[in-house]
């Protein structure tokens, strides 16, 4: 009789914490998953046919050659010093326009570096000239 009684005992897995586990999993995946977001540098191109005369005093020419060397107002500047130089020019003249001109076979990365440096100096007026 005793053995029979024992056999009748049902083995159940407690399911009360099931929803807790589900929530834990949900929270875990919510925290872990990152939606790949697009990041980049915003830039506004000048409109078509908008060529106007600017006081030459307000223009800094930034030339980037194929080797990635940078010339700012006819003096060579190390790429990482562009930001400092641009800040200096901006403090002298807040209306300064930076005109970036690249060579036909300048690498895109070098161009992005220059734009990046100018943006780091909080230069808002950046224009791009056609390639040489």
């Amino acid at each position: 009789m005793l053995t029979k009684k024992r056999l009748k005992i049902k083995g159940e897995i407690p399911s009360a914490s099931l929803s807790d586990i589900a929530f834990l999993l949900l929270v875990f995946f919510l925290l872990v998953s990152t939606i790949d977001q697009d990041k980049g540098m915003g830039f506004v191109l000048p409109g078509k046919g908008g060529e106007f005369k600017v006081n030459p005093k307000n223009i800094t020419n930034v030339l980037v050659n194929a080797a990635g060397q940078v010339l700012m107002n006819d003096s060579e500047v190390q790429p990482r010093d562009i930001s400092r130089e641009a800040q200096r020019l901006l403090s002298q003249n807040p209306l300064m326009i930076f005109s970036v001109q690249t060579a036909e076979n300048t690498k895109y990365q070098n161009y992005i570096d220059v734009i990046d440096q100018l943006k780091l100096a909080n230069a808002t007026r950046i224009s791009i000239a056609d390639t040489e």
């Binding site: 399911s15 099931l18 929803s19 589900a22 790949d36 977001q37 697009d38 990041k39 980049g40 540098m41 915003g42 830039f43 506004v44 191109l45 000048p46 409109g47 078509k48 980037v64 690249t102 060579a103 036909e104 076979n105 300048t106 690498k107 895109y108 990365q109 161009y111 992005i112 570096d113 734009i115 990046d116 943006k119 780091l120 791009i128 056609d130 390639t131």
Partner: protein, 136 residues
């Protein structure tokens, strides 16, 4: 007495199977959702420090420029001269268009400059140079 007994009967919806149902739903949606495979060309984006997130994906159109100078828009390879046409139609459809330029870091600037000019012709002026975060 008999009537009283009847009113005591409680009507309850069994809730013990609710987690099962929720799991079923979860699994169903997990199975049916397809993660959007990243379309476009394989590009090695340039690195930059001053980058910001693109606020909305809704207004963004992508131009891929591969390392060897191929241009792809909407999974179609196009010539530089066609960028204007494609982008103009996009611009007409969505005036708030932001063009995200996903160009390889080794692309020559001559091509990028031509794309710039095409975009200016198409009046799609809001541009975003896609880049990855550079280590300091």
């Amino acid at each position: 007495m008999a009537i009283k007994k009847k009113t005591k009967v409680k009507a309850e919806i069994p809730t013990s199977s609710m987690p099962d149902i929720i799991f079923m739903l979860l699994i169903f949606f997990m199975m049916t959702t397809v993660m959007r495979e990243f379309e476009g060309l394989k590009v090695l984006l340039p690195q930059a420090r001053k980058i910001e997130k693109v606020e909305t994906k809704r207004h963004v159109a992508y131009i891929f420029v591969g390392r060897d100078g191929v241009i792809s828009v909407d999974d179609k390879l196009i010539q530089v001269d066609d960028v204007r046409k494609v982008m103009y139609s996009k611009r007409v459809a969505n005036p708030q268009l932001i063009v995200s330029l996903r160009a390889d870091r080794n692309v020559m600037m001559g091509l990028i400059s031509r794309i710039h000019n095409e975009l200016r012709e198409a009046d799609a002026l809001r541009l975003n140079y896609s880049a990855t975060t550079a280590a300091y």
